[in-house]
Symmetry: C2
């Protein structure tokens, strides 16, 4: 910086002003500084800048595992908006362990990130609260009370309602739900299923089959349903993987989808897109969730305000595994 100042015949402070694109610098000097900087191949040092300005233009993101597409897409949304706004993303993963997650968080704080986004954190609430006291925090996907942090969560209730409105609108009444056990969103979807079935006065015809978020659980559920006297006309799976298991199980037994039974998934993942699957499912705007989390974070960095909860709306994607029941 000193060198650039010398080459342009101005002070170091003026170079600083020009590099930060501040107003109140004469055009002539600005041009001279820019020219000198370019000529010398000067590259500002963001570390020094952060140290002096106490603003790192960096946000920390902690997530479980990048290899899980769900998290990767949220991270993608965060990164996308960050780069649009001139922010940098410092990444930390927790590898499914609260301890490693805490360590990651501590490191991010050492880097003096301007804020932190925690995607489905597994840490104890107290750890999150401690971080929130140091720096603005936004949580995605997990609700923790008593922590002064913003929240972005999916409206599972709405997602489930969309599914049931669709199925019931088609004329289905005997509807089964293969649940996701204790997995993320599982209990919520299950109870929303029961609630909305009752709301439609179909509480008596609702049937829940315990499962988990795997293809195998779906296949097992298909076998269980086939063993009973009469098949429900529609099955709502806890996620797309379960739906794939159901699809496979029914296919093997010669049961037609959607002729004999309609199937709905949840997640809109890779499988659902496949043309020869064409699964009707619930889509969660994951990229949007990432962007929203960063938006909240940056807003909170600038204007200290009370914490906020943002409910994200999922939407139904109708494909070819649902149809009206046989009359």
């Amino acid at each position: 910086m000193e060198d650039v100042a010398q080459a342009a015949g101005v002070s170091r402070a003026l170079v600083s002003l020009v590099m930060r694109a501040q107003p109140n610098v004469s055009d002539e000097r600005r041009a001279r500084v820019l020219e000198a900087a370019h000529r010398l191949g000067y590259r500002p040092n963001a570390m020094a800048r952060s140290l002096a300005s106490r603003r790192s233009k960096t946000v920390g993101v902690i997530l479980d595992d990048l290899r899980n597409p769900f998290f990767a897409e949220i991270a993608g949304g965060i990164e996308e908006l960050a780069s649009e706004l001139g922010y940098q993303v410092l990444l930390g993963a927790g590898g499914r362990q609260a301890r490693r997650e805490r360590a990651s968080l501590a490191t991010l704080l050492e880097y003096r990130v301007d804020g932190v986004i925690l995607v489905s954190p597994r840490m104890r609430a107290a750890d999150i609260a401690a971080a929130a006291a140091e720096v603005p925090v936004v949580m995605v996907g997990r609700q923790v009370r008593g922590v002064d942090a913003d929240l972005v969560i999916i409206d599972e209730n709405l997602g489930t309602r969309l599914v049931l409105d669709h199925l019931i609108g088609l004329g289905h009444e005997r509807i089964a739900h293969v649940d996701g056990g204790k997995g993320a969103g599982g209990p919520q979807r299950r109870s929303a299923f029961l609630r909305w079935m009752r709301a439609h006065r179909l509480g008596a015809r609702a049937r829940v089959i315990p499962g988990e978020f795997t293809e195998e659980a779906g296949a097992a559920a298909a076998r269980a349903l086939l063993a009973e006297p009469d098949l429900p006309t529609a099955v709502f799976a806890a996620n797309d993987l379960v739906a794939a298991g159901l699809l496979g199980g029914f296919d093997q037994a010669g049961v037609e989808v959607p002729g004999d039974v309609s199937i709905v998934g949840y997640d809109n993942n890779f499988i659902a897109h496949l043309a020869h699957v064409g699964l009707t499912t619930v889509d969660q705007p994951r990229t949007e969730m990432g962007r929203m989390a960063l938006e909240l974070l940056l807003d909170r960095i600038d204007n200290r305000r009370a914490s906020v909860v943002r409910l994200v709306e999922p939407s139904l994607v109708v494909r070819s595994t649902t149809a009206a029941p046989r009359p």
Copy 2:
């Protein structure tokens, strides 16, 4: 830091030594400093540390799009090893545009990352060379000559050979390849296919159907093959998506897999894992590639050495879409 020093009754320099876990500090003082640091809630400032030590313990990673599982898995591998070794990952995405990629890279360099990993970069070779002159660079997936950077690439030739050895070992001779057009790896797999067919003296029976990396291309290829007088006994698809299209197309036409025709994919993605698909395919160790890239980078940071090319070995995953041809 000053405060900690005062509280522990030592100098600032000693606190620095303790925080960096340096030897030659008496146990007594070390304990006193640690205690004081903990009591005061002292958190070292990584920016200041980097500025003073000229070592940021940070590596930059640039990739196209986190939402693409291929890149996300590589990034996952990098992050995993980084956190094991106490390094931090600064992320930059290019969004499929060389211009944005360059901007991301420039920003990473402003943060004085110790090194940069470029995953399938789209930038011009000159830009990469310029970066490589400033900082150690490792490229993953793209080969650029005349750049002093390490390289991690997949051995497409080997992957293709594994597929053909498997098929030919089962007794197949009339084998078709649905290629991936100009997509990443497409041309390599295609030419390796022709080369190895010739090596097995089956050059005359090799058949290439032009395609691209989509399910639709696979379905179209199935239609094309079905329109011909006799079906090949095996089809090698350029990737799993294409294989899925083939599977769907053959299924619709009542052609049995692997009874009438065997199918092999490439990538070992989500689809291939599905139980009711069970696709035989080629697996690329993506997490391993990420780890390897970081290993090379860190090695290069410590010991300036000549650049190196690391060929990653894919492996064949045999599932249920391949079998011996009908006699």
